[in-house]
Structure formats: structure tokens, C-alpha cells
């Protein structure tokens, strides 16, 4: 097994009394795509900033590419690509200039940067936009430009903090496709997200984080197996009736969960459970049998606080 690219052991970040990250441990292997999944305020971004060597840890061990960020911040940063949660593109510069100037921050020669900028514009599907103003780009284009910019120094690890938050479905799919290509080329990806479908699409392995601590770790399939069932049946009886009906559903499915608007029934065979419900004389307004997803794992582990 090759040496891990990122090793975090009992990583802690405290701001005064408040522990934003409270003893997180994980390892990321080279070429792996690793996800930090969790609700807002779980400590994902703080962890990313520590890995990105722009925030010093309060306690614990952290090694990135074999180096301690406390002592080798600039050396580590020179080998990372960073896609922050909100775009911080240089709006005073044009699209292609953003890449050129950013490359120079790494001390790369102008010629190398110019060549790579053109390759990256093509990769980000922005060839036509090289001379455009940054503010004239759509949200998805800005995001792709931010990713292209993060790749200008040919990084060994790419850090993506909620890469598709705020994008429309089409823009998300284009972005996933680009990230998947990077993964195929062997770039190590560390990403945070609160979208389950994104984690399932992109992550080889992930940890679910809540309140600064890890709740579960594994591949998406493993987590679904461990914390959910094969299928989920969703039934709706109307907001005022759900709770009352749920009491009469005991014994149906492996586990049920009552949400304000619907009841979730976890089972390996959703259709069979639905039949049992209708046999019992209950007729839901709507019903849906679907494959279990990371969302179910996530809700189970982090609780309903997600709804906030």
C-alpha cells in the first residue's frame, strides 16, 4: 500500500471554548476520492482549511504529502489545488488572466503558465470565454474556472469545499463529469458536500461528520448497507394524519421514521411492505418505493437537525 497523502489523527480546532473540529481521524490514499459529508456547521470547512495549510490545528496530528503544515505551509500549499466554498475569483481580471496570474503566485514561469492556462480553459470548457469578464460568467462557469485555477500548479491533491452548492442540475452534472475525469487521471480528491447524490457519484470512501466528530466511515455502498436498508418506502397520509397512522404500522419494515410530511419505511422489499399496508386497510395519498441512498444514512446518523 502506498503511503497516504493525508493523515489526520485526533485533529482538533478550537475557537475559544467552541470546538469546530473535535478529534477527527482519517487517511486519504493517493488517487483516492475522499468525502467529508455533513450538515452545515459540522466542521467540514474548518477541516479543509487545516488540510489546506491555511489554518493551524489546536491539537492532534496532521500530515499532508508527508509534511507538517505548521512547519511547511508554503511547501504544502504549492502542491495543493484549492476550490473554496464561495468563489474568490479575481473580478478585476479577465477569465484567462485569472489563470495566468494565479499560476504566477506559485512562482511558475510565465511560459509554463500560459501553456497550461490554455489546456485548462479547454478542460473547463471555457475556451470561448478567455477574454470575458469574470462577472459575466454563469455560476457553473465560475465554478469551473475556479477548478481550472486550482489546477494551474498541477497539484497532487485537489481540495473541493462544496463544489456544486448553488448550481442548477445541468451545471452540477457538467462539473461532476469534469471532476470524474480528474479522478480517472489519478488526482487525489478531498471534497466536502452535503449532497448525498454528489457523494455517491464522486467518493470512493467518505466519513459522515456532525458537530465536529466522525459519525461513520466507509464506502457509499458499505454505509448504506450498515445504516439503511436496500429499499425505502415513502408514504404520505397528510400532515395531520402521519403520526396517528405510524402507530398502526408497527411490525411493517425493519424500521420506520416519521417525518412531518411523510413516513419512511426501511425494508429490503418496498413493494411487499406497501402491499401489507394496503392490506391493513390504510390508503396513503401517495407512495414511492426507491433505492436507499446516502441521504438515508445521513439522516439516520445526524438526525433531523438537517431540516433546520
Amino acid at each position: 500500500m502506498p503511503a497516504p497523502v493525508i493523515v489526520a489523527r485526533d485533529l482538533v480546532k478550537r475557537y475559544g471554548e467552541f470546538a469546530a473540529v473535535d478529534g477527527i481521524s482519517f487517511e486519504v490514499a493517493p488517487g483516492e476520492s475522499f468525502g467529508l459529508l455533513g450538515p452545515n456547521g459540522a466542521g467540514k470547512s474548518t477541516t479543509m482549511r487545516m488540510v489546506g495549510a491555511v489554518s493551524t490545528r489546536t491539537a492532534g496530528e496532521l500530515s499532508i504529502l508527508g509534511l507538517d503544515p505548521d512547519a511547511f505551509g508554503p511547501e504544502i500549499r504549492s502542491q495543493l489545488g484549492v476550490v473554496p466554498q464561495s468563489d474568490n475569483l479575481d473580478t478585476e481580471l479577465r477569465v484567462r488572466e485569472n489563470l495566468l496570474v494565479y499560476g504566477r503566485y506559485f512562482g511558475l514561469p510565465a511560459k509554463v503558465v500560459a501553456k497550461r492556462a490554455d489546456e485548462l480553459l479547454a478542460f473547463a470548457q471555457l475556451e470561448e470565454k478567455g477574454k470575458a469578464k469574470v462577472d459575466a460568467l454563469s455560476g457553473g462557469m465560475k465554478r469551473r474556472l475556479t477548478i481550472a485555477r486550482a489546477l494551474i500548479n498541477d497539484p497532487s491533491v485537489l481540495l473541493l469545499d462544496e463544489p456544486t452548492t448553488g448550481l442548477d442540475p445541468q451545471a452540477r452534472h457538467i462539473l461532476w463529469d469534469r471532476l470524474f475525469r480528474l479522478k480517472e487521471q489519478g488526482t487525489t480528491l478531498l471534497l466536502t458536500t452535503h449532497y448525498m447524490d454528489e457523494a455517491e457519484q464522486l467518493c470512493d470512501r467518505l466519513v459522515v461528520v456532525d458537530k465536529g466528530a466522525i459519525m461513520a466511515e466507509g464506502t457509499p455502498a458499505e454505509l448504506i448497507r450498515r445504516y439503511s436498508s436496500r429499499e425505502v418506502l415513502e408514504v404520505r397520509f397528510g400532515s395531520d394524519r402521519n403520526v396517528g397512522v405510524a402507530e398502526r404500522l408497527s411490525g411493517i419494515g425493519e424500521r420506520t421514521e416519521v417525518l412531518p410530511d411523510r413516513i419512511l419505511i426501511y425494508s429490503d422489499n418496498g413493494e411487499a411492505e406497501l402491499e401489507r399496508i394496503t392490506d391493513a386497510g390504510l390508503h396513503p395519498i401517495t407512495s414511492l418505493v426507491r433505492r436507499s441512498s446516502l441521504e438515508d444514512v445521513f439522516l439516520r446518523l445526524t438526525g433531523r437537525s438537517l431540516i433546520e
Binding site: 489554518s55 508554503p74 473580478t91 481580471l93 488572466e97 504566477r104 511558475l108 489546456e119 500548479n153
Partner: protein
Amino acid sequence: MSGVTERDPVQSSAALPRPIRSLYAGNARAVMLRGWRATRSTNWLVVVSGFFEPIFYLLAMGIGLGTLVGTVTTASGQEVAYPAFIAPALLAVAAMNGAIYDSTWNVFFKMQFTKLYEGMLSTSLGPLDVALGEILLALLRGALYAVGFQLVMQALGLNLSWWAILALPAVLLIALGFASLGMAVTSYMKTFQQMDWVNFILLPMFLFSATFYPLTVYPEWLQGVIQALPLWHGVELVRGLTTGDVGWGMLWHVLYYVVMAVVGIVFTTRRLRTLFLD
């Protein structure tokens, strides 16, 4: 993507001791070039307007008002024509304004709104690179204003001595002092209201620092206050050079600006580190 990861020779920081290496990558040039590019593409009109401002003052006050005033006696007792008296002061002010614009409002926007420094500091740049790069850019702008203004002075016959050539490096030093202190102060600012305080201090300093009349018109206690402020030192330094009234005492003015620049750079670097590399 190609696998080349050559590093430019500008990255000469390997020889520096470790605590400094984490602050400085030896690449302030990249930050400065970024500013140059940005100015060229978006802000050049503002730059040009800043260039004409002191020239308008010189024409209005120096030539216009000057015909009523006649001559003025300088601190050392020399009689000079009014335009030649205020021109060096306006030259110092031009350097100050150029440096202040870039190091205060521009820096404030980059910090609070565009998150430019956050992006820079996630590369291999250190906070000292960012501070130096921005200050050097402000300095460059101050220098451009100063050269232009001195050409105007020369054309109007307001450079009274060959010492006036040294006014250029003097003006650069003044710009450096204001740029570094301006950026340091700005890095602590959080709101527009606080930024207005910068103007609130600059305007009276511009008007009262022996710019338009000698310091001797003030009572002694007020003279002391003015002499503690930076612009007075700049005005006296440049005026001494352009009027040829040169003495060793001028080195105090030089020292004042050297200290100001060092204090500014140290505080800016520390502040940037606290803000973006916590």
C-alpha cells in the same frame, strides 16, 4: 495537463530561516504584477484623475492665488515665490495620495469583498509577499504621480536647485511610508464608517501641514502637533530639496519615513497572517 512543475528563480526563499519562510516566498513580484494588470484593465481612469488633482491645485493656488501673495519666507529664512513654495508640498501630497488610494480603499475592497487575499494565501505566497506586493504597487503609483508632477514643476520653472533631482527618491520614500502604514491601518478596518476616518485624518493633514503657508503662523503647541504628523516631514523634505535649502537636519525626515515604512510592513504582515492563516 503536463507534468512539468518547474519553479521560477524568483522563489529564492529556500535560504531563509524557517519562521520567515512561512511568511515570505520571495515572490512579491507576482502580487505586484497582478495589481498592475488589474489597474490597467479596470482602474486606469481613477489613476489618471489622481494625477491631475495636484496639478489643478498648483494652478489654482500657486498661479492664481500666488499673484496676490507674492513671496513667502521659508523656515530657514529664504524668500521664494509662492508657486515655488507650495509646489514641493503638493508633490509630497501627490505621492501620499497615490500611495494612500492603493493601500487603503483598494486594499479594503480586496479584503472585505473580493476575498482576493484569501485566494492568494492559499497558494505558496506568504503574507509578507502580499503586503510587499501591494505596497510596491502603491509605491509605483506614487512614483508615477511624482514624476509627472515634477515635469510640470520643471516646465513652470519651480525647481529652484539641482537638488530637486533628489526629490524623486524622497517622494518614493514618502509613498513607501504612507503605503505601508495605510495598508496596516486598513487591515484593521471592518466597515465603511471606519474607512471614512482615514479621509477625516488625511484632509486636515493635507491642508495644515505647512502645505500652503509656513508653520510659523501657528502657535507653538500647534506647531508641535503638526510636526508629529507624517506629511509635514514629507513637505519639509521635498521643499528643502526643490528650493535648494539642504541641511543634515533633513535626515530626521528620512528616518521618520523609514520607521513608518517598517512599522507598517510589520503590522500588515502580522495582521494578514492572523486574518487568513489563523
